[in-house]
């Protein structure tokens, strides 16, 4: 197999959305799977389709069942009920060593008694490949993760980042139908983690393989994945591409779990073609809604901090569907590229607004304790009914 030619270029990637095609056959299908460990529910009636060539991220807090779902697909756990299908076939009776699925373990699980090359060759030997085929494939994998120089080392002589790459090469060596990655970057330090994210994504696009990654780091999921499945307590709360999850979270929990969000609680006061008006403690706010709402419903308006503009004076009435509320700057966090402003409203609630540091240079800077106006267009707010 030619490892350098991608199956799908950048242009192809932009249109890649098999989940939107009702005729598309999923590569992996979890069908109402449930799993409990001595009474404790790890997976709760979960269904999910993953498509060929997809980079899918399972995102959720620790203990929500992400690893259990991966282990179900790898064959290390059996579901109490429900089915796991690969290429339309129920793989429940297939033992782990006969599944065309490979896993990169959270602990890497490198064989300490084998060299780097020996670790990568391990799976190939099980397939009964000839010595020459194995050495060609091992060399290919070593080149892929840039570890050619360290082929003869033992795992304990490697750095954390190098070990991570050996584990990746070992799990890729057999060209699995699905590669499962359990928190592959969790053990790396911040800088390395960020670089490796992009490498991982680039590698997946180049090989055209199906990757399922487990992570509790939302930034990581957003960076690498075609789609994210947000999990909580053994269930999938929302499954969608990163931008959709971020911009159209299904409920307050997802909105808060993925990035920062300001939530304004209130009652629906008006509904027209321009959207919804909600009476909240901060006054009447306008937002868009994709959910059906009725008058008097309690709803929440979610506004991302970077969509809020801070202005020193009340903005003009140019945009009648916009929102403007007054507050006082309570705290400023300078993060380099952006600054985070905490603005206290008269009723005491705090609103977060992030501003790119450069935009402030030309304007009169806003300082601590300044009276300011928070301003955002109606389409920056999203109405959540749950």
């Amino acid at each position: 197999m030619d490892m350098t030619s991608g199956r799908r270029g950048d242009a192809g990637r932009r249109q890649f959305a098999p989940w939107a095609d009702p005729a598309a056959q999923p590569l992996v299908r979890f069908e109402r799977v449930a799993k409990r460990f001595s009474g404790h529910v790890a997976l709760d009636d979960l269904s999910l389709d993953i498509f060929e060539g997809e980079f899918f991220a399972l995102l959720g807090p620790s203990g929500c069942g992400k690893t259990t779902l991966l282990r179900l697909l790898a064959g290390f756990e059996t579901a109490d009920s429900g089915r796991v299908l690969l290429d339309g076939q129920d793989i429940s009776p297939v033992p782990p060593y006969r599944r065309p699925v490979n896993m990169m373990f959270q602990s890497y699980a490198l064989f300490p008694h084998l060299t780097v090359a020996g670790n990568i060759a391990f799976g190939l030997k099980q397939d009964g490949l000839s010595k020459s085929e194995i050495s060609v494939r091992v060399a290919e994998m070593l080149a892929l993760v840039r570890l050619e120089a360290l082929a003869a080392r033992k795992p304990h002589q490697l750095s954390g980042g190098q070990r991570q790459r050996v584990a990746l090469a070992r799990s890729l060596a057999k060209h699995p139908r699905v590669l499962l990655l359990d928190e592959p970057l969790a053990a790396l330090d911040q800088k390395l983690r960020q670089d490796t994210r992009f490498e991982l994504k680039e590698l997946q696009a180049r090989l055209g393989l199906t990757f399922v990654i487990v992570t509790h780091d939302q930034e990581e999921a957003m960076t690498v994945a075609d789609r994210i499945g947000v999990m909580d307590q053994g269930r999938l709360v929302q499954v969608a591409p990163p931008a959709e999850i971020y911009e159209q979270p299904l409920n307050r929990w997802v909105a808060g779990f993925i990035g920062d969000v300001n939530l304004f609680e209130g009652k629906v006061a008006l509904q027209d073609v321009d959207g919804v008006a909600v009476d909240s403690a901060a006054g009447r706010l306008r937002a868009f809604s994709t959910d059906k709402v009725t008058m008097g419903d309690t709803v929440w308006i979610a506004v991302r901090p970077e969509r809020i503009r801070l202005v020193p004076a009340r903005p003009g009435d140019a945009a009648p569907t916009g929102n403007a509320i007054a507050g006082r700057v309570a705290d400023i966090g300078y993060l380099g590229g952006v600054s985070v402003y905490q603005v206290a409203l008269p009723d005491g609630t705090k609103v977060k607004a992030t501003l790119a540091s450069t935009t402030r240079l030309t304007e009169r800077p806003i300082g601590l304790d300044d009276e300011v106006w928070l301003n955002w267009p109606a389409d920056a707010g999203r109405v959540l009914v749950r």
Partner: protein, 270 residues
């Protein structure tokens, strides 16, 4: 202050070592005694070693002991490892607690009782006592030591290594042979050595379970000493010390060599 503490330490070390090794040193020196009287020094000589070579009974006993020790240590290593695997791997199975208690019981059981019960068993089953009954008895005696050593290393074993092997297409038995076994091999080796030494040394159980055709070295030495200590005994004991010391040194050299090899720049495993 510090100096006094270290003087104390040195003194205790010296005393401890002397306590442990003085009897052996005396035995070794007297094995080279030219005099026929054990307690009188008659100058250096190796005549008792030459004498030993002509002592058919002693040589037979040594050969029996060696064969029994190798066979029973091998069997105890296999059985003890299986028991350790059962105790660590099969989660919490019904009857696990009694099982582990039963595995450990021979550790604290007085040897006289073990020996006597084995004797009763062999008599009841009408089995002629000899080489085979002795080997079985020593396997029974030493197996639990192997279990304890192997179990300790299995508890510290990272289970995800076996899962990784299976994930890569390796069936369970081959996973055990190619991943688990190489990694717990040091524990198996020390278990084997301990079992070997215990078997070589045993007198009580051997005297219950061996027959006329299978006299072990400790039995032979003991029966000769009852007639008076001959310098020849010192010689055979010195040889035993040398064999055991050589085994211990070999074991530690093997361990060191493994470390060196894994730290060095060995070639990729073919």
């Amino acid at each position: 202050m510090h100096k006094r503490a270290s003087l104390f330490c040195l003194a205790s070390l010296g005393f401890g070592l002397a306590f442990l090794y003085l009897p052996m040193v005396i035995l070794v020196i007297y094995s080279f005694n030219a005099s026929r009287l054990v307690t009188v020094w008659g100058g250096w000589s190796t005549r008792w070693y030459a004498e030993l070579l002509r002592d058919e009974a002693m040589l037979d006993a040594a050969w029996t002991s060696l064969r029994v020790a190798l066979l029973s240590a091998g069997a105890a290593t296999v059985l003890g490892t299986l028991a350790a695997l059962a105790l660590t791997r099969i989660g919490r199975f019904r009857g696990r607690l009694p099982f582990s208690a039963m595995v450990y019981a021979p550790l604290v059981m007085p040897e006289v009782i073990t020996g006597l019960s084995l004797l009763l068993l062999f008599v009841a089953a009408d089995i002629d006592r000899g080489f085979w009954t002795l080997s079985v008895a020593h396997t029974t005696l030493t197996m639990c030591f192997v279990t304890i050593i192997v179990q300790a290393s299995l508890i510290g074993f990272d289970g995800s290594l076996e899962e990784a092997a299976m994930d890569l297409g390796c069936p369970p038995l081959r996973t055990f042979l190619t991943v688990t076994l190489p990694l717990i091999a040091p524990a198996l080796a020390s278990g084997f050595m301990l079992a070997f030494a215990l078997s070589l040394d045993d007198l009580v159980i051997a005297s219950f379970t061996s027959g006329p055709g299978a006299t072990t070295l400790p039995i032979q030495i003991y029966s000769q000493v009852r007639l008076g200590v001959k310098p020849e005994i010192n010689a055979i004991c010195t040889i035993m010390i040398a064999v055991v010391a050589a085994a211990v040194i070999a074991a530690s050299l093997i361990a060191k060599w493994r470390d060196l090899r894994s730290a060095g720049t060995g070639l990729p495993a073919a």
